[in-house]
Amino acid sequence: MKKGLILLLITLLVMAFVSGCAKKPTKEIEETQTAVNNVISEGLGKYSPDDEKKLKDALAAAMEEIKTQEGKTFKNFDKAKQMLADVKKNAEELKASLPQKKEAAKQNALQAQEGAKASVEEAKSLLAKAPKGKGTAADIEALRGDVKGLEDSLNEVQSLIEKEEFIEASNKANAIKEKATGVSNQIKEAMEKIKAKKPAKK
């Protein structure tokens, strides 16, 4: 009787352990992978590459833990489940914060685009005041080519924004702004030279 009780107790103990740790958390794995894929496909890497790496690594660590448990006679996936839950939670939080990051990058890009546009417009209006055709100073004529190049690049900023490449768009817009300011200064200098030469004609 006593022997039977002990055996029953042992069997129950083994069953408890085996049933407690044997099940591979397939559902949790799928849900976590989906959450991670969602946030990555929405551009996490573009706006926060470090977060993307950490997330991927955390998922890989959880999967490794599952692999470790699978190699064991008596499996315990509790830790893996907890890891997966943490990854999923993190992925969801990152996904929730992504629109803000995206919006901030978009606003930066739009602001930079406006700045670049204004600078190019300034250069264009200065050129409009400069003499045209025969007798035009060579440098002013050359600067017309520069303004055309600025306009081309400005169009590239717009297409980058349309493709949601906000960071790249901001960089380009800032570069255009700097170059356009330089062109405006050169136009002013060329006009000054022309003005300075005029009295000599008298």
Binding site: K72, F74, A137, A138, A142, K148, N171, K197
Partner: protein, 348 residues
Amino acid sequence: MKFLTLFSLIIIILNGCFKSELSLPEVDLLEKQYYNLWKAQAHLYLPIEFNLYQERIKKAKNHLREIESKLFFLRDYNPVQKEFIEILKQGEELSKSLEIELQRRSLLILQRINKIEDKIKNLNNFTLNANEGINLRRNLTKSEILLYEGRSLYERGRYIDSEEKLNNVEKYLDESEKKMSKILNRFKEINQIEKWKKWAKEAIHDSKKGYSILIIKIERKMIIYKDEKPIKIYPIGLGLRGLSDKYHAKDYATPEGRYKVIRKNPKSKYYKALLINYPNEEDIREFYKAKTKGLIPKTAKIGGLIEIHGGGSNSITYGCISLDNEQMEELYGLVDEGVPVTIVGALN
């Protein structure tokens, strides 16, 4: 017997479920090292080395897993611990190599940026001085913007992205240089240079009888000779496509050949002017030859009214030669109708 069974079962359970972590301290260190190397972009700059390192980590972890799947009193961590220590050393080596690689790339990018800046400067000077290739400046501006982006990426340590931008800059600059070469090739032809040299000699020889004007387009200068000696040198402005030879009206090129002053205009729109006898006989011959060969439009006219006038040596013209007004005044006083005017592309 029953106690032995119970003891064994407890051992198995403890072994299986409660000791599930990869329990060496080196594992944590290695993970941190791996993450730092990844963050420093070792996977991008040293992909082969990084992959080998990654593979070794994977293997070592599998070994550790194998050990941990054994009964805990049968586990011998020493070999796998050594393996982890070696990988950590490999990681340190990788980190050093990465530093060297980053320095190397940084230096290369800087050299490329400097080279590109020089190229842009040269093209910039060319387009400004020769009036040619104003369209080239469109590409030049785009190159400058890309260079700015490339430099800014470089400064942020994003060397690969920076290199990509610089590749694009070089593409634009190569296109510009090709277009520039088309314009300049004529100036490398020996026969052409010999012809211009001959004209220049004749022009200098003419100065024995009086003033003789020699214009060298590529140098953008006018030399006045008297008794075979240069007495004045003036900077000049040329046509919008000043470096090309003139074939027809509205091609905005400045003609090349031996001409003479045929009329003096004291009240030109461009201060004062000396009209030359373009087109001369050779120009007319070349014009019809080009037309027959289909090199110029069928409806093209040969044009005329090529002058040396004032308005500024920095001016763009439709094919005339422009001088600063003070120098035009001086020249106008020096020369009379009939004075020879020789226009050449280059002399060397």
